[in-house]
């Protein structure tokens, strides 16, 4: 798993790439042209970044006519999110608060 983590973090460490990925997450599937229009970098640069995101499994491309549409692959982040350990941490902290409350409560 460390290798999968490294790849995801390194891929998303670049601010331009991260911005592209975030836009696909928030706004859904988009063409390279649409992404370029708001990316602040050239289309070849956007394409290169999308290629790197694709290698990491973070985006998927779909060809339609001359257009290539990209979409975010949320499942690629699975190695980073361990639901059970997050919930365990949540409940541990709630137990702490519950114990504090029990001490303060009237008999």
């Amino acid at each position: 798993m460390p290798n999968a983590h490294d790849m995801l973090f390194r891929t998303l460490a670049d601010p331009t790439r991260r911005a592209l990925f975030e836009r696909l997450c928030h706004e859904g599937e988009q063409t390279v042209g649409a992404l370029t229009a708001r990316a602040g970098v050239s289309q070849p640069a956007v394409s290169k970044h999308l290629g790197i995101l694709k290698q990491a499994g973070l985006v998927r491309d779909r060809h339609e006519g001359r257009q290539t549409h990209f979409s975010a692959q949320l499942g690629a982040l699975a190695p980073l999110i361990d639901w059970t350990s997050q919930m365990t941490g949540f409940w541990q902290s709630r137990f702490d608060q519950l114990e504090d409350l029990l001490k303060r409560m009237d008999q």
Partner: protein, 136 residues
């Protein structure tokens, strides 16, 4: 983690608490007390009652499943597209109570739903810069 779709995951937190079950029961079932340690809520200890737990991170939609005063309490817990059941078990001990919380019913394939959730994303993206900054 296996790929068996019938497999479910659960989270268990268990603690010895130096207070009797009756006192803990009040903290688990009275709305103004629940709010102090868990979240704002409209809980009622009545089977079938639907309630919402609201935190600054979002809300959980819940429904009471079982109520056995001073012994067990369970309710469904729906948040971020994940359905689970939270069960509290209070067992008296010589020094107080053994309090056990089990949240069960997550299927491994529900991880997908969680990742798509807005909260997970915001938190993940907010933390990313810090994580990246710590890398070589």
């Amino acid at each position: 983690m296996t790929n068996t779709t019938t497999e479910t995951l659960s989270v268990v937190v268990e603690r010895e608490i130096p207070f009797p079950p009756e006192r803990i029961w009040r903290a688990l079932t009275q709305p103004h007390l629940i709010e102090e340690w868990l979240m704002k809520n409209d809980f009622k200890p009545v089977v079938g009652h639907s309630f919402t737990l609201r935190g600054d991170w979002g809300a959980a939609d819940c429904q009471v499943q079982a109520v056995a005063p001073n012994k067990t309490l369970s309710y469904t817990w729906g948040a971020f597209g994940l359905e689970s059941v939270v069960t509290w078990t209070l067992t008296p001990t010589s020094t107080g109570t053994n309090l056990r919380m089990e949240q069960s019913g997550f299927r491994p394939d529900q991880q997908q739903a969680y990742q798509g959730a807005k909260y997970g994303w915001k938190k993940f993206l907010a933390n990313l810069d810090q994580v990246v900054a710590r890398m070589d």
